[in-house]
Each structure stands twice: as C-alpha cells, then as structure tokens.
C-alpha cells in the first residue's frame, strides 16, 4: 500500500481545507454514535487494513500446511489417526476447512469493508480535488523548499502571462488572481500530478476487484476430479465424476456437456544416470466433443497444458497403472473382466495398490487385494519396483472369499476391501506375470492377469473469477506504479514591479518527493521560465 491513504493530518491539504475529522462538541457526549463512528474510522484506516491483509495471509498458512476437507478428505482422516488428541481441536477451530471457516470469512469481509470504506470517501475527495483550483500563491515564496529569483525586462502583467504560457505548456493547472492585478505585482499558482491520486484510487479499486473476483470464483466456479483409464470415455456429468466440489451457486446443470476419451497415454522417463526414473514428459492423447452431437476433436494434454472446453479447463494431474483382470467363478462364468485402476504412493517407482471386488461370483463373493509392480525386482525377498515404466510388470495378489458387505447398500470405496466378512484363500501373496492365472482353492474359480493399461487423473475447473482477478491484479500494479512515480507538485510565481521592469520569484513545493527528482524538474522549469522571459524581452526590443 502506498503512503497516501486517507491521512489524518495532511500538511499539503491543511493550508487549503479546514480539518473536518475532529469531532465537535463536548467530550462527555461521546455516545454510541460516536463509538460507531470511531470504529468505522479505525476500520477504514490504513493501519487496520494492513493488519487485516496480514491476517488474511497468515490465515491461509494452515490452509496450505494442514490437509483440507475440500481437497484432501483422506488426508484429514489420516491426520485424525496420527494426531488423535490435536485433530478435534484443530477441527473445532475450522483449520481443516480454512477457506470456509467463519473466522476466515470475517477477515475477508472486514478487509472488504475496510477497502470500501477507504475507497468511497477517497473517490469523493479525488473528484473534489480534480475540480478545485490550486491555492493562492503564498506571500513569501523564498520560504518554499525550492526557490528562484531573477529580473525580467517586462512589466508584471505580461511577465505573468509568459510564465502562465510556459507552465500551461507543461500540463500544470493554473490559477490567477480573480480581480485586477494589485499595484504591488501579480501572482500565479500552478499544480500538477493528479495522476498520483488516480493511481492510488486505481490500486484500491483493483484490490477490491481482486477480492470480488476471488469471491466470484468461489461462488460460481467448481472443481471436479475424474480418473480415466486409457481407451475409455467419460461425459462431464455429476455421476461420472469421482469428486465434485461446486461453488455455492453452482448446480450439476452448470457442468459443460463435453465428453473426453483417453486414446493413449505416454510417459517417458530418463533411463540412465543419476536422474534415472525421473519423468521427462507426460502426454495424454485425447479426443473430445464440446457438446452432444458436436464434431470430435483431438488434443494432447500435458502437465500445465490444459484443455479449454466449454468454459472449463481440464488439467492432467496424475497417472498410474490399471492391471486388467479376468475372473471366472465356480460355475465357469466370467464374472469380472476389466481394467482396475491401482493407486501408487508418492515414492516407489509406481509400486501401486488396488483391490478387485467380484460381487457376483458364485457361490461366494470374491475379493483380491493386489500390488502392481511395473518393473519388478526382488530385494531380500521383498518385491520392489526398479523403474516407473512397465518393463517387467507383475502383480501380487491375495484372494478372499465371503461377503464383501456391499449387499446392504452402504457405498464403499473402490480402493478398499472390507475383509471382515471374508476368509483368506491363500496363505502367501501369489505373483502373476501378464497372461498368468491363479486357480483359487476348492474350485472357487480362476483369476487371470491379462495385461495392464495406463490411467490418468484429470481435474476439471471452472473459475469465472480468474480473468477478472488477472485484470484487477495488473490494474493494481499499474495503479501502484503510477502512485509511486507521479508526484503532486506546485509551482508559484510572483512578479513584482521593478521600475518598468519586474522581479520574478518562482517557488516550488512537492507533496512527497519519494522518488526524488523534483529538484531537477524545478531547476529546469525555473530556467525555462527565465529563458522565456529573456526571449520575450528580446522580442519586445
């Protein structure tokens, strides 16, 4: 923020305007209305605005350090497990949902009110000062920070006219005496640098705009996640999304009716050296239709190169492997034949975990917990992955039979197997290579690892506040620069008669000379004024 926010005492203005901020009347009459006025003045002061801005920044810190309900509910669960004493307290303080918590909203709204309360009076002041003329020239210009004096061979009135022409040519706003020039000479006031206030106002308005834009995004935007297996298609409708976080005013009908097919996903990795296994590039080759019946287009999603479709942006944010399993039950019927997405942790070269649930196997439901290893090696009897690409893929499976617990109608995670009602079919994990089968004991069926396909996770976002926020951010920066670089400055000229000639006094005053340079500007102006007077003098000869 800049220096010129609603100053309580403004030496620059005090000469022209009476101080209107001080409450009038006896002190004992400081009632409720006065308290409210006092509170409002405090709220709209720059100090409080800065404190609020700081609190807003401080308040977002737990939002990025702690797992948040909206974006990472699993992380919150995890936190509850690992910090059983602390988690309920943090939850009580709203620290797992920072951006939706009342205290965050309070800071946000107070900052908003503070800015509005600052900008509105400031606008009135700017309009007022834009209309007001500069003050009359002080009597003793020599007291001003900048001063120059020289003789001119012109009478006071034409000398003042010449000075007016020069200053007007530099974009100064001028004020001349109202009536006829007094006998002891005449004067001229000139003022420049109104853009400083304009820049300042622009900065504050743009800051408000940023807040409004962020609110717009929160109320009218949405975010959704979808895991898409290679070779499959999804339509952007709520039931086809894995996660869906709509803004307050967003309904499922606001989703863009596009469909996306993942034709092929390629990941390339560094194959040698110290960087071995680091990703080089991810390419998701997709085809999409913007709306039902529209032409099919193709595109290539990369990290940070999203697809823009129907007002939404589709980002490629992750990938993994989906081993394909085929399960036949005791009757010899195929009861499962599909790619099953397995999820990898953050490390381990895409060593991924997943489950297979075969709810319609007879005579008993079947379940498998599995590990997919893209490049399998055995170290001390432990299966590990040596490389993220699938150079030597294997799966390791543990089979269960019994009741999956789904028939009661309670929804389950597709990544977790509830083994409470099941018994383990094999003592040790069974390792399969592509094409290999595992015969289940007691003729319960067969599971075949037929192959694998990649999957990608996509995030679909719609943020109507993004563009306004960008524009406002740039406007705020422009306003700030303007208010830093432009100085409000006044130049006064007094011309006193000296026989038939005159003595010209030039005084200068800059409001805040933070960036310096007024000294130079004044010197050059004074020199120009003198030159103009000398020139007129020669013309007059």
């Amino acid at each position: 923020m800049t220096d010129v926010r609603a100053p309580e005492a403004d030496p620059f203005e005090s000469a022209a305007e009476p101080d209107d901020n001080r409450p009038v009347g006896p002190r004992s009459a400081f009632g409720l209305a006065d308290w409210l006025k006092w509170a409002w003045r405090q709220l709209t002061s720059m100090r409080i605005a800065l404190v609020l801005l700081f609190l807003l920044a401080l308040g977002s810190v737990p939002g990025s350090m702690l797992p948040q309900e909206g974006t990472n509910p699993a992380g919150v669960q995890q936190y509850y497990t690992s910090h059983p004493a602390l988690a309920p307290l943090l939850n009580h303080l709203g620290l797992f949902n920072v951006f939706g918590s009342p205290w965050f909203a309070a800071i946000y709204l107070l900052l908003f009110a503070s800015l509005v309360g600052c900008v509105v009076p400031r606008t009135f002041r700017l309009v007022g000062s834009a209309r007001a003329l500069p003050p009359r020239a002080p009597r003793n210009l020599a007291r001003l920070p900048r001063f120059a004096e020289y003789g001119a061979a012109l009478a006071p009135a034409p000398a003042a006219d010449v000075a007016a022409k020069v200053l007007a040519g530099h974009g100064f706003r001028l004020r001349r005496p109202d009536g006829a020039a007094p006998s002891d000479g005449t004067w001229l006031s000139a003022e420049k640098g109104y853009l400083r206030e304009v820049g300042n106002l622009l900065f504050h308005l743009a800051l408000l705009g940023v807040l409004v834009s962020v609110a717009l995004g929160g109320l009218f935007g949405y975010k959704a996640d979808r895991l898409l297996v290679q070779g499959t298609t999804f339509a952007d409708t709520q039931s086809a999304l894995d996660e869906w976080y709509p803004g307050h005013f967003v309904t499922a009908a606001d989703l863009g009716p596009f469909t996306i097919t993942l034709n092929q996903f390629e990941a390339t990795y560094i194959t040698s050296g110290a960087q071995r296994g680091q990703p080089v590039a991810f390419d998701a080759h997709i085809s999409y239709t913007a709306s039902p019946g529209a032409a099919t287009r193709t595109d290539n999603l990369e990290v940070n190169r999203p697809l823009s479709v129907d007002g939404a942006k589709v980002y490629l944010i992750g990938h993994g492997y989906a081993p394909v399993f085929k399960v036949t039950d005791a009757r010899g019927q195929v009861v499962y034949d599909q790619a099953t997405p397995f999820i990898s942790g953050t490390s381990g070269n895409f060593l991924s975990q997943g489950v297979v649930k075969v709810a319609d196997a007879q005579p008993q439901q079947l379940g498998f917990t599995g590990v997919f290893v893209p490049t399998a090696i055995e170290i001390n009897g432990v299966l590990q992955s040596a490389f993220p690409a699938a150079d030597n893929p294997v799966v390791s499976l543990i089979g269960y039979a019994g009741n999956l617990g789904e028939n009661s109608g309670v929804p389950q995670s597709v990544y977790q197997l509830n083994t409470a009602g099941m018994h383990r079919l094999t003592a040790a994990p069974q390792i399969l290579q592509p094409g290999q089968s595992l015969k289940l004991p007691n003729g319960q069926g067969t599971i075949t690892f037929t192959g694998y396909v990649p999957w990608v996770s996509l995030t679909i976002t719609h943020d109507p506040g993004q563009l306004p926020a960008l524009i406002c951010g740039m406007a705020a920066l422009g306003g700030l620069l303007l208010s830093f670089m432009v100085r409000r400055r006044r130049v006064f000229v007094r011309v006193r008669p000296n026989g038939t000639q005159s003595i010209v006094q030039v005084g200068g005053l800059a409001r805040i000379d933070a960036s310096g340079g007024f000294e130079t500007e004044f010197a050059s102006l004074a020199a120009e004024l003198k030159a103009a007077h000398d020139h007129s003098q020669h013309e007059g000869e």
Partner: protein, 197 residues
C-alpha cells in the same frame, strides 16, 4: 464536511445492505422450487412432475448388455421405468430386488423397465443381472453419455436414479437415490392410473 462524511457512511452502509440482500435473493432464487413438481407422500427423494410440466426424455440408441441395438423411441406409447445403476454401486445392489418385484407386478399393466448401466463393464454388469435375477434389459452407458443427455432435463446426481416416463415420452416422476417399493408404486399408480396387479 461532517454532513458529507455522514452521507458517505450512509452510502457505504446502503451498499453493504444491498449486497447482502442481493446475496439472499440470489441464494433463494438458486434453491427455490419452480412449483411444477410435488414430493411423493412420505418420501424425501421422490418427485412427481405435474402434467404439462413434465420434461421430455431424450431419445437415444444404445447397445444392450447382451449386444443388441436398442432405440429408446421404440418405448413410445408405453409407460417405462428407467433405472440408472452400476454393478459397482452398493445401493443399486440393495435396490435391485425391489425393482425386479415391481417390474413383475406391473408387467400386466404394460409397464416396461429398462436399466441404464453407468460407468460399468459388460462382464461385471451381466454377472450382476444374472446374480440378482434382473428380469428386464439394460443398455450399456460406460461413458455416461446417456446420463449426460438425461441430466439436461432432470438433475441426476448419481446412481441409483429411477425415472418413470409416461406414454408420450415425458418424465412423470423420479426417485433420486435408492427407490422403495412404496415410492415406485405411488408414482406408477399416478402415471398408469392402475394399482399394482
């Protein structure tokens, strides 16, 4: 100037109140009902659309789980119950017997049942229909395209969702979530004019 300051305070207060009012109005407008649908008695997730305000169901052609082509238009002239389900969906599994029984009850009344199998795989879906003795056909909607088409006229949030479509192809009633026998028979009685037989 004191007056001018007060005027500013009043103005800012008015802006704040106005914004708050606008917010309340907007949220009311977003969540307010249109008055063209009524809840089915004793149910929180079933609705009946009043005649004249029934949304027209989209037409679609799709492949059934057994591999034949099915045109939804061929159901015109019959009351049809469309159930969105998936073999992976536990509530659908719990709901399946209710739908099977209701389908049998309304067979003589000429009511057809059709499943839309969402985000699923044919092998698992067929196993589901065999295992749970689903007596009516289902079309595959692995890409959710059919769901998307219907979402344009009714707010389908997920599976299970059951729609009752009248003889003219308009959606007369809907159950969002697991349908009970009571909800289905209430809607079907309204649409067919007959009770279960």
């Amino acid at each position: 100037m004191f007056k001018a300051r007060r005027r500013v305070v009043v103005l800012v207060a008015a802006v704040c109140v106005g914004a708050a009012l606008a917010g309340v109005l907007l949220s009311g407008w977003a969540s307010g009902g249109s008055g063209t649908e009524t809840d089915v008695a004793g149910s929180t997730n079933a609705v009946l659309y009043s005649a004249g305000h029934r949304p027209l169901a989209p037409d679609f052609t799709a492949t059934t789980l057994t591999g034949s082509q099915l045109s939804f238009r061929s159901y015109r002239g019959r009351v049809v119950v469309v159930n969105f389900w998936g073999s992976w969906c536990a509530p659908c599994r719990a709901e399946a017997p209710t739908l099977a029984v209701t389908a049998e009850q309304y067979r003589s009344a000429g009511v057809a049942f059709l499943g839309v199998d969402v985000r699923d795989n044919t092998a698992s879906a067929l196993a589901f229909t065999r295992d749970l003795d689903v007596p009516y056909p289902s079309v595959s909607d692995s890409s959710s395209q059919i769901t998307l088409d219907f979402t344009a006229v009714v707010p389908i949030a997920g599976t299970p969702t059951t729609l009752v479509i009248d003889r003219t192809g308009h959606i007369a009633g809907a159950v969002f979530g697991t349908a009970t026998s009571q909800e289905l028979t209430d809607i079907l009685a309204q649409v067919t004019g007959k009770t279960a037989g």
